[in-house]
């Protein structure tokens, strides 16, 4: 209305250009841009650097051969065992964490009573989320060295329980993923409108069947996102591996039962392998450390990408 009475501004189209903003807004605006681009640069250089180093040293031979004992680490063996270790541990931790995380979130959102207990549970999960993984590791070692947990790891000659195994490490790893799965599931459930629950009850469905058939499927994209984040964190954790898995070069089985022997045994993962072979560790084979780090990065990126795709596809199925 007012522009038509002022011929000098008639032809200006977008009125809200950055140039018209107050100085402080403009500074903040460009600062945000700079930070965003900066982060992209960091991400890009990280990937490029790892790509460069990784491609230089990585080889199929390295991936598909086991670590070997030798005076010169740079000459002998690959990292098949740590790679498998990463898979086993991530899978184990996730398998334990999903039902716990999803279950707790369902309970909090759909029941949440008594309210005090619900609040206590949420605080408890926050504490777990904030606990450094090395503390979880030490705590786990203390816990699983108890006699009653002997079935989870191994018993040394003197009768002392080792407490170190895929199982014990997996349990503690699940505590890393659990808060992430819990939080994203809770958020997803809270976003389901009350009308949807009501619609289900109005069809004569029980609360349980509403949760199983309507709410969890609806929350699935959220659950998947949390799971992906959790898996990434497990795959990337070193402290628990060093303390609770033993970081042995090979997977060392306990007993002879097919799967159980591996789960009760100790081993290593890519993270501990990288650490041990980096100049900081003892192996002193930085090339292998780079190669393993590269593979680890690829794995985690692929995981995120894959889950993202999956959750987008599930979303497409329902909306």
């Amino acid at each position: 209305m007012s522009t038509s009475s002022r011929p000098d501004v008639v032809h200006r189209r977008g009125k809200d250009t950055v140039k018209s903003w107050p100085l402080a807004d403009r500074i903040a605006y460009y600062a945000c841009w700079a930070v965003g681009i900066g982060l992209c640069l960091v991400a890009a250089s990280l990937i490029l650097f790892m790509l460069n180093k990784g491609l230089q040293y990585v080889s199929l031979d390295l991936i598909f051969s086991n670590p070997a004992v030798g005076s010169d680490q740079s000459q002998t063996g690959g990292f098949l065992a740590p790679l498998l270790g990463t898979f086993i541990l991530t899978l184990l931790g996730t398998i334990i964490a999903i039902p716990l995380g999803v279950g707790t979130a369902v309970w909090i959102v759909e029941y949440g009573r008594p309210a005090r207990l619900a609040r206590a549970v949420e605080s408890g999960i926050e504490v777990v989320a904030g606990t450094p993984s090395i503390v979880l590791g030490i705590f786990g070692l203390l816990l699983f060295s108890n006699g009653i947990f002997a079935f989870m790891s191994f018993r040394a000659l003197g009768g002392a329980v080792g407490g170190r195994s895929f199982l014990t490490a997996g349990v503690m790893m699940s505590f890393i993923a659990l808060p992430l799965i819990f939080t994203s599931t809770r958020e997803a459930l809270q976003q389901v409108p009350a009308q949807v629950r009501e619609a289900s009850y109005a069809l004569g469905k029980t609360k349980w069947s509403t949760i199983r058939k309507v709410l969890i499927p609806t929350a699935r994209p959220g659950i998947l996102t949390g799971t992906a984040l959790g898996m990434g964190r497990i795959a990337g954790d070193t402290a628990i591996v060093v303390i609770l898995l033993g970081a042995t070069m090979q997977i060392e089985k306990v007993g002879s039962a097919p799967l159980v022997s591996t789960l009760r045994g100790s081993g290593s993962t890519l993270t501990s392998y990288v650490y041990n072979n980096s100049p900081a560790g003892e192996g002193n084979a930085p090339q292998k450390a780079y190669a393993a780090a590269f593979v680890l990065l690829l794995l985690v990126l692929a995981l995120n990408f894959g889950i993202d795709l999956l959750s987008r596809r599930t979303k497409k199925e329902i909306v």
């Binding site: 009308q195 009501e198 619609a199 109005a202 069809l203 004569g204 029980t206 609806t218 329902i318």
Partner: protein, 296 residues
């Protein structure tokens, strides 16, 4: 920078148009007996499916429905009308015990379905026999097929196979007049349908369990005129299969689809009778004020 635009004039409520707040008890004194006779059992030869008897519902200490007595008969559409907040939704939701989901709601009086107190039934069974369509279309975030199939699947029994479900799903969608539009795309997400189609899907879902009574809470208030028309035709058609109770704010709609009309005011039943009687010769003064002039 901009030249100041003149403020819109402040709207003041014309006193003559302000709503009259009259205690309905005084208002309907003269009509009370006639209405009591109309809602009494045996006042119609049609089969009575549900009977609401002296029902009162309060949220905490705040009454929402007061001493309402109403019959729900087979082959009839009962239209519930009344100003906002008069307890229509509350009354409707008590018929399939959805009010129980609200912790503060307390009910006294009785409701029967085919002579049996609804509290003697399992809530899940009751809700399959007295199903409900809500004001906002609320399909589940699943495929069209799954939306209807979910309503059919029994809780405990083993999962019926898709091939046993398919004809039932089709039948429900046909009943709701949606089959022709979605029959080829049963695996599409229900949320991608238009609002009117979503609401018909909700009707199909509610019909899938072959209910005795269908409750509809302002089913067209979120829809465009065309969809509204389709759903009104549907209601008229469904009347033969199932007793319908519909809440509506739209008096013309009540007139078009209703057989009997119940007018509620401040939680009380002020008027009950056939459409013609309520709209053309209302017994209570309150009803005259409310429906008066609509069909002038």
């Amino acid at each position: 920078m901009n030249s100041p635009t003149p403020l819109p004039p402040i709207k003041r409520i014309d006193p003559s148009r302000a709503p009259k707040v009259v205690d309905p008890r005084h208002d309907s004194l003269g009509a009370a007996d006639a209405i009591a006779a109309a809602v009494a059992p045996g006042s119609s030869e049609r089969v009575e499916r549900m009977r609401i008897d002296d029902l009162s519902i309060a949220y905490g200490t705040k009454p929402a429905v007061r001493n309402v007595t109403l019959p729900v008969r087979e082959g009839e559409v009962l239209a519930l009308i009344g100003p906002s907040g008069c307890g229509k939704t509350t009354l409707l939701r008590s018929l399939n015990r959805l009010t129980e989901l609200t912790d503060t709601a307390v009910a006294t009086g009785s409701i029967t379905l085919d002579g049996q107190n609804i509290h003697a039934l399992e809530a899940t069974d009751l809700r399959r026999r007295v199903s409900m369509v809500f004001q906002q279309p609320n399909p589940f975030p699943m495929s069209i097929f799954e939306n209807v199939a979910y309503a059919i699947r029994e809780q405990a029994a083993r999962r019926p196979s898709k091939s046993t479900l398919a004809p039932l799903v089709r039948e429900a969608l046909e009943d709701a007049g949606l089959w022709d539009e979605v029959g080829d795309n049963l695996d599409h997400p229900a949320l991608r349908l238009s609002g009117g189609q979503q609401q018909r899907l909700c009707i199909a879902r509610a019909l899938a369990s072959k209910p005795d009574v269908l409750l509809m809470d302002e089913p067209c208030s979120a829809l465009d005129p065309k969809s509204t028309e389709i759903i009104e035709e549907l209601i008229t058609r469904l009347r033969e299969k199932v007793a319908i109770v519909i809440v509506t704010h739209n008096l013309q709609q009540a007139h078009r689809v209703g057989d009997n009309v119940a007018f509620m005011y401040l939680g009380e039943l002020v008027e009950y009778g056939t459409v013609d009687q309520v709209f053309n010769a209302p017994r209570a003064e309150r009803t005259q004020d409310y429906v008066g002039g609509v069909f002038g």
